[in-house]
């Protein structure tokens, strides 16, 4: 039963036994096992990534009333492998005047910024890469590296489109980090810790019921952070051809592409972890670590599916609208929500569980309603000013 409960420890003990049997010093063996663990995790993720391509294509087809890949293998399952082979054997071009080092470094950093996120993901009660007590900040830090890779790619390509794309994307990512970090502090308040593991453990009630508005803001900010439609400023096929990765081909492009998909899936996962209890599901996670992982992945897929749903439903927003939306709406709402939550948390500290949940939920709804009303009246004002009707126009005359 131990293996089912805590497979990692059983496997590590087994490996340690083998390595010491070979006469390897303890420290080296530990380091080697650590590396092996990382390697296995990354390998599994990359395999998952390949299937994400297939999932993405299947889902978008369904949204668009098509069937999607269906020729190669059952349900077209082999199709992504064919894609990989195509990418691998494609000519790898570097534009003239490109900054070679940065040009080659960018896709690696892009992939890396996603993969290092998995270091703090609690897959099961016993399986957790690093229980960083600042996990929430760590997620943002990894996002910062993603921004860096995009700027690198955009600049080093020596291409105006890619530079503009990179600028836009960097501006968006920098801006949306703020509401994202702010709402991530709300689960932190509930858990009393920034550690992702602690946040998962603390969710006897899913944070979504305590802070529905925070969950929504997090999802919006995450979509912007991912650079996915409706916030796909960096790529914007119809304006910038393909944005910051225009000059990349072959596997380098493949890394950007795979990075983006995995990133989306990862943020679906974080959404699940921060607001939907992560691997927890009515105690099922205690039965077996594998079950816990399955629960987490199921939830992550739901989040991922919602992100896809948004992507293939909404149109792209203009860059200035988007930034204005962030700075003038999302960020203030996130701040107000954070303050409200902190206040309610202090006020309801001694309240019964149901009162606490109800109070939190209602305060969220209230903040959401008020902010929507404010936004509505602001937009009405703007519309009347532009149309030259109403009070705004008379005022400015």
């Amino acid at each position: 039963m131990d293996f089912l409960k805590d497979p990692l420890k059983v496997a590590a003990d087994w490996l340690l036994g083998i390595f010491s049997g070979w006469g390897m010093p303890d420290l080296w063996a530990q380091v080697l096992i650590g590396f092996l663990g990382i390697f296995i995790l990354v390998a599994l993720l990359m395999v998952l990534d390949i299937f994400l391509v297939w999932i993405e294509r299947k889902v978008v087809s369904r949204f668009q009333s098509r069937i999607g890949p269906n020729r190669l293998g059952p349900f077209g399952l082999i199709q992504p492998f064919a894609d990989i082979i195509k990418l691998l054997i494609k000519e790898d071009t570097t534009p003239e005047g490109a900054d070679r080092t940065l040009y080659n470094l960018a896709p690696i950093l892009s992939m890396m910024s996603v993969l290092i996120l998995w270091a703090v993901v609690p897959l099961a009660p016993s399986i957790l890469g690093v229980d960083l007590n600042i996990g929430v900040l760590y997620i943002i830090a990894a996002g910062a590296i993603g921004t860096l890779s995009i700027i690198m790619a955009g600049w080093s390509s020596n291409n105006k489109y890619s530079l503009i794309g990179a600028f836009r994307e960097a501006a968006v990512m920098l801006s949306f980090e703020i509401p994202m970090l702010t709402v991530m502090l709300i689960p932190t308040i509930f858990a009393g810790s920034m550690g992702i593991g602690a946040i998962t453990q603390a969710q006897d009630t899913w944070n979504f019921f305590l802070a529905p508005l925070a969950a929504v803001i997090f999802l919006i900010a995450a979509i912007a952070e991912l650079g996915r439609s409706p916030f796909d400023m960096g790529e914007a096929e119809s304006e910038l051809v393909s944005g910051y990765n225009i000059e990349y081909s072959g596997m380098k492009f493949g890394m950007f592409y795979a990075g983006e998909l995995l990133h989306a899936f990862t943020f679906g996962g974080f959404w699940a972890i921060l607001f939907f209890g992560g691997y927890r599901f009515f105690g099922l996670e205690q039965v077996s670590a594998f079950l816990a992982i399955a629960i987490l992945f199921f939830k992550a897929f739901i989040g991922y599916w919602i992100i896809m749903w948004v992507k293939y439903t909404l149109l792209r927003i203009r860059i200035d609208h988007m930034l204005a939306f962030n700075w003038k709406f999302l960020t203030p709402v996130a701040f107000v929500l954070l303050m409200t939550t902190a206040l309610m948390n202090a006020l309801l500290a001694d309240a019964s569980n149901w009162l606490y949940i109800g109070g939190m939920f209602l305060s969220n709804i209230l903040v959401a309603w008020i902010s929507l009303e404010v936004a509505r009246s602001a937009s009405r004002w703007e519309r009347e000013r532009v149309e030259g009707t109403g009070y705004a126009a008379r005022r400015t005359e």
Binding site: I134, L148, A170, L174, M194
Partner: protein, 169 residues
């Protein structure tokens, strides 16, 4: 030498090389990227010092925001993508001398200071550095006032920067 020391030396050397490239490289964009590398090095130093919060904030604030600003600013203030002319001014030799003198003075001070022999004590059990830092920043007995002043400073800087850089055309 222990593993710790080797890791430290590697990181320190990398950081210093990156820092050196920041001040010498002719291409400002490269200088900015070298700065990012140096800042990563400093973040790693923080991690070695078990100041995990500082390490992560270093990445978020410096690499995520400040470096981006630098890159933006570099790109916004050029007539073309390549740099022309020397990047060092006429007095660079004297500047280098002064910097060396400052370094020598600092090393001399460190050398002469008795406290340098201190060793790091182990962390007390269940000591939560992040929690302690958070408490210190908002506790009225500790640093809530500097913290608030810093936040006011940031707001003022934000407004000032927007005002200064705003294009009135």
């Amino acid at each position: 030498m222990t593993v710790d020391q080797i890791i430290f030396l590697v990181i320190a050397a990398g950081t210093l090389i990156a820092a050196f490239r920041v001040v010498t490289t002719g291409n400002l964009i490269h200088a900015a990227f070298w700065l990012i590398a140096a800042l990563f090095g400093v973040a790693a130093i923080f991690a070695i010092l078990h100041a995990s919060f500082l390490a992560v904030v270093q990445v978020v604030v410096y690499i995520g925001a400040i470096s981006m600003l630098f890159i933006f600013a570099v790109m916004l203030t050029r007539k073309d993508m390549r740099d022309q002319g020397p990047q060092l001014n006429r007095n660079w030799g004297f500047g280098a001398f002064l910097a060396a003198l400052a370094f020598a003075g600092l090393v001399f001070l460190v050398h002469g200071w008795s406290g340098v022999a201190k060793t790091a004590s182990a962390f007390p059990s269940d000591f939560d550095a992040v929690g302690a830092l958070g408490n210190a920043l908002v506790s009225p007995d500790a640093y809530v006032l500097p913290f608030e002043v810093a936040s006011v400073l940031l707001v003022a800087a934000l407004i000032g920067a927007v005002y200064v850089a705003y294009n009135r055309k």
